[in-house]
């Protein structure tokens, strides 16, 4: 081993068992070895016997280490073999855990099978929950975690005016992002900013997808041919309302106002419903959640008010709702995505739920057409920390609500992704029929077929801005529009 220029060879020091190779007598002539004095042996003999003793000691320690190491390995092995203790679902991550892969000839030869086995083994390891907790605690110790920034995308520049020529909504361009389909894989938060007890999802404007979104809505209006009035309500994320513009600009997040103006300018035959200014007026109220990317019922209410004003109708005043419940302990998507930071965990959200005055009955249908009547328009959520499920009970492909107190035949079709859930309960008291389509899952009929069959008079598209720049969402929308 080459001598280190400074004289100290760390590798030799690391590998050497210092007690085994002692050849020099102990240092310090003023400190004789204790054994020599007490045992009557000469210092060298006493030293030798001490070295023998420490060699034995050392071998014993090595033996203990060997046994302990095997102990740890065997413990881990045995736990890993307890197949009946392997979890199938993670409450914290809200997803199904990997299933044991199917063995096929192709998957075996390509190595996919064995790779999936490794993934399954780690993903469903019996003690994974406490182990992940420890891991996240260790991660939190990396530094001071009051501010977290995760940026995986960059937004395009937002032009003042849309392109002059027509956009083909079916043509997906290479510059588009957000092409992942929804469940069972789920969707991820791509851009996140956490400051203290508040988390913000950040929106990045994608021009190509936004153009296609506007073109898709124009096609929707054209396909209805005047049978129903079409409205588009875009929902900005919480940072656009609650966060200092200097901060989100420095993070590279897109300007929601400019983006919405751009999209609205590209619409034809569709009435836009701007809500940003109204939300900003009420920003001191609990409009958005701090641990979840969705809005609270208050934010959705003011959006409803803007919509009703566009229709020229009077919105139900907030004070008219007598059954108002608060669901505490809500730790949402941003909390999970940020790795469960303590600052958010210690200050969970409260979901406010306004029960519609006229009825709480709703009929749900899932993507396969199966019918559910066990959920209300609003629900208590005792079994989950995901209190957003209170609104409509979750995401269903298609739902119908009939208001028994109205007899004017008024109807509205809400075409939505998950943000529409908090808005839907407010529509119930204003219309006789409320139809809800979650375009991510609904495949039974196209928009014009549904509008014709149910004789719907008003169609309201509700999308949060991230959906308008997600290629997969626009594709799903086009599938429904037909």
């Amino acid at each position: 081993m080459e001598e280190h220029p400074n004289g100290f060879d760390p590798i030799a020091a690391l590998l050497q068992d210092p007690k085994q190779n002692e050849t020099k007598p102990s240092p310090g002539p003023d400190k004789p070895a204790p054994e020599a004095e007490s045992s009557g042996l000469s210092p060298w003999r006493a030293f030798q016997s001490r070295t023998d003793y420490t060699q034995k000691e050392n071998r014993r320690d090595c033996g203990i280490k060997l046994l302990a190491f095997f102990g740890v390995l065997i413990l881990g092995f045995v736990i890993g073999c307890l197949w009946f203790l392997r979890p199938a679902f993670s409450e914290a991550e809200k997803r199904d855990l990997s299933a044991y892969p199917e063995l096929t000839w192709n998957s075996f030869i390509s190595g996919e099978y064995t790779k999936a086995v490794s993934g399954w083994y780690a993903d469903t390891y019996p003690l994974r929950e406490p182990m992940i907790r420890v891991s996240q605690t260790l991660g939190a110790m990396h530094g001071i975690q009051t501010t977290l920034v995760k940026i995986n995308e960059r937004g395009d520049e937002i032009p003042d005016e849309p392109n002059a020529g027509p956009i083909d909504p079916d043509k997906v361009l290479e510059s588009e992002t957000g092409g992942e389909p929804v469940s069972p894989g789920g969707q991820t938060i791509n851009n996140l900013y956490v400051s203290g007890n508040t988390a913000y999802e950040l929106y990045m404007f994608n021009k190509a997808t936004s153009d296609r979104y506007a073109a898709a809505l124009n096609r929707a209006a054209a396909s209805l041919n005047g049978k129903a009035a079409v409205y588009d309500l875009l929902v900005p994320l919480s940072y656009s309302v609650n966060l200092d513009p200097a901060v989100w600009k420095s993070l590279g997040a897109s300007d929601a106002e400019a983006a919405m103006n751009y999209i609205y300018k590209g619409l034809s035959g569709v009435t836009s419903v701007p809500i940003l200014d109204t939300l900003k007026e009420h920003r001191s109220e609990y409009l958005y959640f701090r641990t979840d990317h969705h809005w609270n019922a208050y934010g959705a209410y003011y959006a409803y008010v803007c919509f009703m004003q566009k229709l020229g109708l009077a919105p139900t005043p907030l004070s008219a709702y007598t059954d108002v419940r608060k669901l505490d302990g809500f730790l949402g998507t941003l909390y999970a995505d940020a790795g469960r930071p303590a600052a958010l965990e210690q200050d969970p959200d409260t979901a406010t739920v306004f029960r519609p005055i006229s009825t709480n009955d709703i009929v749900h249908y899932d993507g396969d057409g199966a019918k559910y009547t066990t959920y209300g328009i609003v629900n208590g959520v005792s079994k989950s920390t995901n209190k957003y499920l209170a609104y409509l009970g979750g995401d269903f492909a298609y739902s119908e609500i009939h208001n028994p107190n109205k007899h004017d035949g008024s109807s509205v079709l809400l075409v939505k992704e998950s943000f529409g859930n908090a808005l839907a309960p407010f529509l119930v008291d204003s219309f006789e029929y409320v139809y809800i389509v979650d375009y991510r899952y609904y495949t039974q009929m196209t928009l014009s077929q549904l509008v014709t069959e149910k004789q719907i008079g008003t169609v309201l598209f509700v999308n949060n801005l991230v959906a308008t720049s997600a290629s997969a969402r626009v594709n799903e929308l086009l599938r429904f529009i037909g």
Partner: protein
Amino acid sequence: MVFADLLFIFLFLTLCLILSTAMPTNRAKNVVLLVFSLVFYAWSGPWLLILLCGMTLVCYLGALRIEAVRPAPSPDGAPATASAPDPSRKVMRLTLILTLVICLGTLAFFKYTSFLCGEMNRLFSWPSRIPDIILPIGISFYTFQLISYVVDVYRGQVPAQRKYHLLLLYAGLFHQCIAGPIVRYSDVCRELTDREFKVTDFSRGVTRFAIGLGKKALLANALGAIADSLVPTSGTGLSSASAVTLFVGSLAYMLQIYLDFSAYSDMAIGMGLMSGFHYLENFRYPYMADSITDFWRRWHISLSSFFRDYVYIPLGGNRKGVPRQYLNLLIVWALTGIWHGAGWNFLLWGLYFFVILCIEKRFVDLKHPPATPFYILRRAVTLILVFFGWILFRYPDMAVMGTVLRGLFCLNGNPFADLTAGAAILNNLFLFPVAVAACTPLVPFLHDRLHTLARTRMGLRPVLRVLSVALPLVLIFLSVFSLAGLNYNPFLYTQF
């Protein structure tokens, strides 16, 4: 399969260690190790086994032929190579060349075909279809190991291995097959058949394995995540990233690549010790180097010594005049660069070091370290040169590389610092110093100091004994928990 994985640690390694330790004879142990190594290798795709076994077979037959044709040594005991009659020498040489061509040809095919086709398509629009050839894992390592074996047989330094399965064990042993170190046959040929179980070796192996696992799971993975988030190789958002962001990201990458790579070597050496093998060190705290020459004596030692012994010296080294020496160095460094990957940036990285090494050879007195302040300056300059070297290494896309280099000096119109940079520093305020300390011999130094102290302070000995047994196990526990944390993957939407 990778080392830092729950299935590897708790299923594969457990069974392998129990079975191989329990076997009474080295022969039985070798069978166990060979079977487990083949399973390990086949885990990434059974067809890869054909490649490993095939290349080993070629080298096995080649070495046997070389030895069969070699005339008996002269009475004074010197190997007969130099004075052998021409026909045998020619056959030996031809066999060697044929074996090398097959091995290197296979390596080159898998490694460089896609890249070369892509470049030719770009320049000449031909071929029109670029084949997507998957690089079989570990091929760069075991190919070089087998080459070292055949050349050493040719040089008469080792006898040819008569048993195919032992050669296969040497080439494919899972300890070092996938990520090094490149173990020379001459270093382990005796130990292949003649190993002794020593509890002290096993214990050192446990410690070494724990250190490697800890470096990987607790440090390198986290640093890799920081680097991927701040300086993604795709280049997204880098033109507007602040200089501090780019610096912190690049620093994280510099730390990650050392900790990751040296962790694999640590784990290999540790597992080797547990099985009775003594592999040579592959890293010697490279970030403590005081010159680039010194750096390359500390970084991936097995690779640089391979190139020295099998390329530089056969080409003449420094014995054929100064111009030829520089040419030899150029060839070695170009090869070093492209060994790491198929891309112009890897070649650039190799040549970057070639230029610096030539400058050092010509203008720097490496034998006599200067006075302390200049010595510190030299070490700082070395680190800076290595830092920029890693930026060349990281980005296969030269445009992205250019953006990063310019951005570090605010030449992209980007700010010096921003919120992302501040958050990155704050969030990792403790991780970075710990990672930097892990790149220095601080822990072995403290270990040595404590032992020296314990020789005279008897009260300290029990503490030291407990620590030396407990610390590696604690490290393994924490590492295993961190590995579990990698599977944390929250989803947004759920039906119910």
